[in-house]
Symmetry: C2
C-alpha cells in the first residue's frame, strides 16, 4: 500500500461553470489535504492533523492544487518546428510540417523527440493529451513507449494519410488500417495508454481510407478518433473540391461514420448552426486551439456558440503545438480569453480552468478517471504557484478573490507557475 | 576611463527592413567584439584577440547581443492590475484603472511600484520606455527618481486629466500645466531622463487642458508629448460627442497643436487614410500595442498600412501594460505577428527586431543615441540567450538561418531569453 499526501489550497469542479454559478459547481478548500493511494485519490478534504498523521504531506503554501491540465489536440513531431514563419494552413503544412514529419521514419529521432515532448507537457502541467504522431508506425511506438514509462494517461495515434502529401509520408487505405490496428491492439488500454484512430483531415485521406478508419474505430469500442475540421478557408474550399457531394465540411466525416462519442475534432472555426447541432447530437467533441488559430491567422472559434445552454457541445482546449506556439495551457487560456474578446464575449477564470481540467476530461470521455480531484479518480494533479515570477508576486498582492487569482494565473502565468506535476500519485516534475 | 567589452554574436540595424533587403540594412557579426567606454559604445567589430587585450570581455556563446528593447507605451501604475478581467476600454478604465491609480497619491506606494516596474522592464530587456505615471506629481517624481538611480533612459510624464474621471484623479488645466512644467524643468534632460507632456486622451481633458498641454510642449523644444488615439469604438463615439466639431478623432489633437515630431500616440487602430497621411506629414509616431489590443478586444493595428513605402509613418512597439499582459517585447512581437496575420500580412523577424530597437528609437527621435550598436551610441544593450528554456534548446537545433533563429526568439521567447541587460555600459540585470 503506497499512500502519500499533499497539503494546500485545493480546487476542483463538480459541474459546469458555463451554466452554473461557480459556487455551485466548484469546490475550493483553502487549507486542504489530499491523500493518494496506489495512484488514485483516496480522499480530499480540509486539512486535519489527525488525517495527515504518518503521511508527512508535501506542503504547498501560496499555491493552488488542481487537476492536471488536459490538452485535447497537439502534434508531437511538430515540437521541432514550433514557431515556423509566415504561412497559413496549407502552405504551412507543405513548407514546414511535411518536411519535419519525414524525420520520424527514424525511430531514434522519434524517441528523442518523444522524450523532450513529454517532458515539456509535464513541465507545463499537462498530464493528459490527445496527440498526433506521424504516418510512421514507429513514431507512435516511440510515443507510447515514452508515455508508458512515465505512466501518463495519453491518447495518441499514427496519422493516416494516403494522398496529397509527400510520397514519404503516405500510407494506403489498407496499410494505414493494418498498422493502426496493430498499434491499437498493442497500446490501447496498455496501462494508461489509449489509442486514437487518426486520419489527419479529409484532404489527405481518400474516401477508402476514411471508410477504413471508421471501421477500425467502430470495431474497437472505447477507442478514440481524432481529426481536424474547418480550420482555414483555403482548407474549406479544398474539401469542397474533393468532396463535392457534401455541402458542409462536417458532412464528409459524418458520411463516413467518423462522428460520435470519443471523437475529437481540432479547430472547428468556420461552422454553422447545423454543425453545432450535429456535434451535440453525436456526442463528438470540439477542441479549441486559440493560439494556433491566431498564429496561423485561421480565425476565431465561437466558444460561447459551442457552449450554448440549449445544446451544449463538449469542448476541450488544445495547444495545437506546433501551429500553436506554447505548450502552456495557462497561456492557451490567455489566448482563449482574447479570442472570446474579439467576438465580444468574456471567458471567466472558472470557465477557463474548467475547460482545462474537467471540461477537457468530459470532452474526451474520461471524466470518471481524470480532470477532477475526487476519491477514486486517478491522481494526476498539479501545484500552481501563485508567486512564480517577480511580476506575479507583486500582482497577486492586489488580487483579493479566488476568481481574480485564477484570472491572473491564466493571464500572466506560464510553465513557471507549475511548481510540481504528479502523475498517478508520483511527482514527475518539480520546478525547483 | 571606464572600458569594458562583450564578445558574442552581434545584431544591429543600419536601415529599415520594411523597405530594404535585410542584407542591406542589418549587420550581423557571428563572433563579434563590442567595446564600451564611459557608458557609450566605443567600437563594434569582429572579435580579435588584439582588440580585446586587457578588457577580459564577457563572453556570451549561443546568444545574440542586440540593442536594448524600446517600449513606446505603457503605464507604470497599472503593474498592480495587469491582467484584469473582462472589460473593454472605457469600463476597464472605470472599474480597474481609476481605482488602482488612486493609490499613487501615496509617495511610498509610488516608490515601491516604480522599483518593481523598472526591475521588470530590465528583466525583460527593455532599456527605454515611454511611461505614463498617474495624475499625481509624486508618481512622476517616484518614477524619475528610480530611473535616475538606475541611469536608464526613460521618457515619462504625469498624466493630465481634468474631467471624466474620479475626483481624486483630477487636476485642472492650470494645475496640470504648472505641475507638469515643474516636473519637466526638474527632470527633462536631467541625466538620461526625458519628460513627456501626458494628456491621457481627449475624453479626460477639457479643451483648455489640451491647449495648455500643447503650450507647455511647444515651450520646451526637445520635450515629448504622449497620448492615446483611436483604441476602441466606444471611445471613438465618446470623442465624437465631446468634440462634435472634429469629424476625425485625430483632428482633435491636431486642432490643439498636439501633433509633431516627438509626439507618440498609443494604439491608432480605427484610422483612415487621412490619419496616416497626417501622421506622416507631422512626423508624429504611432505606438503599436498588439497584446493590449487583443486582450481588451480593441481591434487590429494596420501595421503594414502605417509602414506603406510611399508615406511611411514612424511606428514603435508598446506593451501597454496593464492593458497588455506582458512586459516582454519578445512576447509583444509574437502578438504583433498574430495581429498582422489576422489582417493577412506577415511580420518577419527582421522587421520585428527593427521595430523593437532602431525603429522604436526613430519613432521617439532618439535614433542617434539608442536603438543601434554603433560607435558613439549609448551602451544600452541586451544578451538574448537562444537556449533559454528546454523547448528553445530543442527547437533551435532545427533553426538554420538567422531569420529562423530570430523568429523563434520572437515566437517562443520571453523574459527568460534575456540573459543580461546593460544600461549605459553597466550590467543591471543578469538572469542567472
Amino acid at each position: 500500500m503506497n499512500r502519500s499526501a499533499l497539503r494546500g489550497s485545493i480546487l476542483t469542479f463538480t459541474g459546469d461553470p458555463f451554466f452554473e454559478d461557480p459556487r455551485d459547481c466548484c469546490t475550493f478548500i483553502e487549507d486542504g489535504l489530499l491523500i493518494m493511494k496506489d495512484g488514485l485519490i483516496e480522499s480530499v478534504g480540509p486539512y486535519e492533523e489527525r488525517a495527515a498523521e504518518g503521511l508527512d504531506p508535501a506542503y504547498y503554501p501560496q499555491a493552488i492544487i488542481c487537476p492536471g491540465f488536459i490538452d485535447g489536440h497537439l502534434h508531437f513531431p511538430q515540437i521541432q518546428m514550433i514557431g515556423a514563419y509566415g504561412e497559413q494552413l496549407i502552405e504551412w503544412l507543405n513548407t514546414y510540417t511535411f518536411v519535419a514529419e519525414q524525420d520520424y521514419a527514424d525511430p531514434g529521432h522519434a524517441r528523442r523527440a518523444a522524450g523532450v515532448f513529454l517532458a515539456e507537457l509535464l513541465r507545463n502541467g499537462t498530464t493528459t493529451a490527445a496527440v498526433y504522431c506521424t504516418v510512421h508506425p514507429q513514431s507512435a511506438e516511440a510515443f507510447f513507449e515514452a508515455s508508458s514509462a512515465l505512466n501518463t494517461r495519453m491518447i495518441a495515434g499514427k496519422v493516416l494519410m494516403d494522398r496529397n502529401a509527400p510520397e514519404a509520408l503516405l500510407d494506403t487505405a489498407e496499410s494505414g488500417y493494418e498498422d493502426s490496428r496493430r498499434l491499437l491492439e498493442k497500446w490501447h488500454r496498455h496501462g494508461r495508454q489509449l489509442y486514437a484512430v487518426t486520419p489527419r483531415f479529409a484532404p489527405t485521406s481518400s474516401p477508402e481510407q476514411l471508410r477504413a478508419a471508421a471501421r477500425l474505430w467502430r470495431e474497437h469500442p472505447g477507442s478514440y478518433l481524432q481529426s481536424h475540421l474547418s480550420e482555414n478557408r483555403g482548407e474549406l474550399a479544398w474539401v469542397q473540391e474533393l468532396f463535392p457531394e457534401s455541402r458542409r465540411y462536417l458532412e464528409v466525416y459524418e458520411k463516413f461514420g467518423l462522428l460520435g462519442p470519443r471523437s475529437a475534432y481540432g479547430h472547428c472555426i468556420h461552422l454553422e448552426e447545423e454543425d453545432f447541432a450535429d456535434f451535440r447530437q453525436s456526442g463528438a467533441a470540439m477542441v479549441h486551439c486559440p493560439t494556433s488559430n491566431l498564429f496561423l491567422g485561421s480565425g476565431f472559434f465561437k466558444l460561447f456558440e459551442a457552449r450554448r445552454q440549449d445544446r451544449p457541445v463538449k469542448v476541450a482546449l488544445g495547444t495545437d503545438v506546433g501551429g500553436g506556439t506554447s505548450f502552456s495551457i495557462l497561456r492557451t487560456l490567455n489566448e482563449a480569453y482574447k479570442t472570446a474578446r474579439m467576438l465580444g464575449a468574456r471567458l471567466n477564470a472558472f470557465q477557463g480552468f474548467y475547460l482545462a481540467t474537467r471540461g477537457g476530461a468530459e470532452a474526451l470521455d474520461l471524466a470518471d478517471r481524470i480532470g477532477s480531484l475526487a476519491p477514486g479518480c486517478e491522481a494526476d494533479l498539479i501545484v500552481l504557484d501563485l508567486k512564480a515570477t517577480p511580476l506575479m508576486e507583486f500582482r497577486l498582492d492586489f488580487a483579493k478573490t479566488l476568481a481574480e487569482k485564477l484570472f491572473v494565473l491564466m493571464t500572466i502565468g506560464d510553465d513557471r507557475a507549475v511548481k510540481a506535476t504528479y502523475v498517478a500519485g508520483k511527482k514527475v516534475h518539480s520546478r525547483d
